[in-house]
Amino acid sequence: MVLGATMVAQHIAFGLIAAIVIIGALRVVTTNNVVHAALWLVAVLVGVGGSFVLVGAEFVGVTQLLIYVGAIVVLFLFGIMLTRAPIGREVHLTSRAWPLAIVVAVPIAGVLAYTLIDAYGADHIGDDTRQLTAQVSDSIFSTYLIPFEVVSVLLLAALIGAIVLARKE
């Protein structure tokens, strides 16, 4: 009985999250205002973070909020300011060839959906999928230690590269 109520709650929560993510993503790619696109991107990122929490991956969810909403969206807003995009409606954000992009995107969605429904039709994730953050950190610092260190070198390289590229001569 309690389990059933939990499942209903999970489905309602997922439905809300999915609606936020899909509507937000559609607005990101269709709105005519760059700043609004960045703010809709925040809605998408928060929704995706919520879906992580829903499957018990709370550490990834919190990291998603910290890094994406806290850092990447701020970077985007700085990029918008520095490239002096007009704040307000702008008509030339979308290429004239956008129907071709739909011709590409809709078949991708269709093929992916067909394949996923065919392959994982009725598989359940399960009710208790919590994984302790300690397990995640153990995994990162033992099995995936070398990739972790390589990623930190990559971050350093990206940092230096961005400074070199953006610096005035």
Binding site: I67, A85, S95, A101
Partner: protein
């Protein structure tokens, strides 16, 4: 929760991101669409990790988040340089390497 709910959400997000990358002319908007695609990948990683009861999905989702941060940093620096050299970030006008 059904596994497919998450996978289909990821697929929809991916397709929307692909549309954005192809249809947008503004460099910053293209980078935002790439973020949508990377998020779709993360949803799949975490959902499959939960499905198989392993933390590996979460570990790789964390790697993807880190690399997305690096990608945005470099991407915005490139867009900034483009703006400085051409006074515009319209990607339709970037054709210096056209054969």
């Amino acid at each position: 929760v059904l596994l497919n709910e998450f996978l289909l959400l990821g697929a929809a997000l991916f397709a929307i991101g692909v549309y954005g990358v192809l249809a947008r002319r503004n460099g910053v908007m293209v980078l935002m669409s790439i973020e949508l695609i990377l998020n779709a990948v993360n949803i799949n990683f975490v959902a499959f990790g939960a499905f198989h009861r392993t933390v590996v999905g979460q570990v790789f989702a964390l790697f993807v988040i880190t690399i997305a941060a690096a990608e945005v940093g470099v991407g915005l620096a490139i867009v900034l340089m483009l703006y400085r050299n051409r006074a515009s970030i319209d990607l339709d006008q970037v054709d210096a390497m056209r054969g």
